[in-house]
Amino acid sequence: MIPINDLFTILPALVLSIFACALLLMRLEEAGLNVGFALAGEALTALALWRQSSYAGLAGFLGSVILDPFGIFLNAACWLAAVFTILVCAHSLAHENEQTGDFLGLVLLAQAGMTLVVSGVEIVTVFVGLETAALSFYILTGFYRARPESNEAALKYFLLGALSTGLLLYGFSLLYGLTGSTRFAAIAARLEGRDPQDPVLLLALVTLLAGLFFKVAAAPFHMWAPDAYQGAPTPVSAFLATASKVASFALLLRLCAGPLAASRSAWEPLVVAAALLSLTIGNFAALTQQSVKRLLAYSSVAHGGYILLGLVAGNRTGFEGMILYLLIYSIMTAGAFLLLASFEKDDLGQFRGLLYRQPWVAVAMLVFLVSLAGLPPTAGFFPKYQIFLSLIQTRHYVYALIGALYVAVSLYYYFRIAREMILEPETPLADVPSPMGWRAAVGVASILTLALGINPQPALDWARGALR
């Protein structure tokens, strides 16, 4: 008999899996019912997360899962992304004649996996969570069965994903071999005195980080991201670009601040290289993209670079900046991708003259773009500021400067979209449909982006509390 405390620690995952199975099995015809049911599941998940938040420090399953403010914060970020995705997907799926129930079931299942990744502190638990999420994502990416690009994206993502899983697993097994334990705390204790330059440890680090960089789409392991984001159904792109990244970063942070903290000198150069490469490749590749989805994909690679810079700084401000960045990033990137979900095609030309046709849609997009570029008074400014601040505090002036200069580069491609919006169209384009759920998701995301820019205090307090 499993003690009730143990079950309580994985309550969100339980709720999500039950709702996911129900959605997959019930096969409701009505799309609205499915969405309502999934949202009910999300509401219960939120309730579970909220209940959990008052039991910080509780560990379950012999210390495999832990309830801490950090995990709850990042789970909340994933939750937000999932809710936005659920709100928007119905219309896009109806357009492609695909099943809403299956889709939503997979979304919830992926989220269930991610809650385990975020709150897991044991290798096997985390790995099971990662794979649950990844398998769901493979299917979700190829969900438009009739569309070749969707299938292609799924296959690419699956093949590269399998490779990364292999790398990650190899790293995990080496870590286990070195320490004889799968629990992060025990691994940390046993790696304490070990020489960071130990070749076996180094091998473990390299493979682990390569696998994780793949998951967070950091260069040079980012190749799958533009293809997968572009080919996948747009709501899936939004979910994949945000929630999946948040969960993987949670694991990366837990590993780097826990078991691998002692060998910081060994992995720091790798993280620096990945961060700078992500910034460079992401920003420069985004410059010339014609597809807005690809542009956002490369921009998301660049954002990964900024978040990694917080890890390079490695102090309190840096970690705060990272998780704050993850939350804000989820809101603005999900918002931007989901706004795209209503567009028939994803090339830049679709935005031409949007300001005159549907000014509110254009304004919402503008808020996301300005925020992605990191200009105040939108939410995107503050996490970037925290990251730069942490870099300056730890005397990494050069990285701060590079990061700051790339803001100007990113401005160029974000404003290419803004520019299209104010150009007069040569041939009049049709209005994009704006179903209720889409309006709710995009509206809430843009209002949050703006409100957290003007008053970032609540988010900052929360992030600060999450690291206590």
């Binding site: 300001l355 105040p376 300056i392 100007a408 401005l411």
Partner: protein, 482 residues
Amino acid sequence: MVTLLLLPLVGVLLQIVVPRRNSTLAWYAALATSFCTLLLPLSWAASTLPGDINLPWIPAVGASFALQMDGAALLFSILTGLVFFLAILASPGKPATFYALHLVMLAAAYGFFLAGDALLLFLCFEAVLIPMYFLIGVWGSQNRQQAAFRFVLYTVLGSVALLLGILTLYLAHGSATGNFTFALAPLTQTALPWRGFAFTAIVLGFAVKVPMLPLHSWLPLAHTEAPTSGSVILAAILLKMGTYGLFRMAVPLLGGEAWSASATNVLLWLSAAAILYGGFAALGQTDAKRLVAYSSISHLGFCTLGLFSQNSAALSGSLLQQINHGISTSLLFFLVGFLYERRGTRDLAQFGGLAKPMPRLSLVFGIAMLGSAGLPLLNGFVGEFTILRGVFAVHPAVASFSLLGIILAAAYLLVLFQKTMLGPVTLEANRTLPDLRLREWLIVLPLLGWSIWIGISPGGHFRLLDASVAAVVKPMLAGGRP
């Protein structure tokens, strides 16, 4: 003072509520809002200044919503309110979005001029960027896309430097005193390490906006392509954000330290170069707006000259000259805009002899031109004279160089006047142009009145400015020296 920031935002909401297609109603609403915001600083000028406001904003990092009012802030708020009101008055029949963008900028401009917190100041500095991008990009002339884009790119590059400077001060202050705060007064008035670096970064950030010499190339394009109200606001308010920012954040950092002498030396010579470069470039222009744009570079050279001279007379003069430039240049841009509305061109060759069909407009144009050129009894003279007198005391070589700028100003402005207003009417189309209308009189009269007021009796203005300058100069001379 919070009302001052909230009123324009209420106005933005009004613009959203106004039914679409009803642009007259939107125009009235925008006029009413901007007029109400203008009344507030005017009433303070008539009675007493309101006390400072300090509300918690982001306590976690030590940023507060702090607004402070002094003589300089009061004059700049009045200028802001007046210019925005007139700019909206000059653009009837535009969609509600157009007015909403103006009101957002208005709120941000007030916030910038009153800010007592570096982060708030930075936020407001950035907040005008996006509305201006759309103002130029949507309602500008042929090359508007390029102009708007270049404007944003330059300013953001500057902002990055500015943020770096602010962060340096913040961290230096925090680690020296243990008090991490963004409040302007402690950041700028405590003797801190890294001051030279922060000074450079902050000057770079604001210099793009002023613009100072090597960073000016966005300005002629943006000014030329913007709609009339955009050019006016750009010249009268946004450029002032650069100089005013320098006054609030960079000038107090100067002091007895070794770097400050060499830094000011470089900046003074750059200012003198800007005065001459702007003057010569203006001489060669054939587009009326471009000419006024280059004249702005020259006039702002005087402002920065006064700012970096570390002399309280020149500093007061510089602040007054900033107000003067706001008055004269917006007047000139309005008048060029009126001509453009009538003829659809800004090419100087298309005009000539306009004094015959429109004697009143040419009279106003003449006064504006003379005010800008620095004729005694008009506003420009007072500012430039005070600056040069102050600079002569500390740096005679730079001052004598800059004197040439006054001659150049007279030359290019007279050329502008002569080519448009004087001589025979060469083109048939110009013969029947209507003279100033009532609305246009309403726009030019307040500016003309203010310009003559400053020219005849600048004493009241100087009294207001001197207190602000003293607050900057005293710590600059006392605190900086080890």
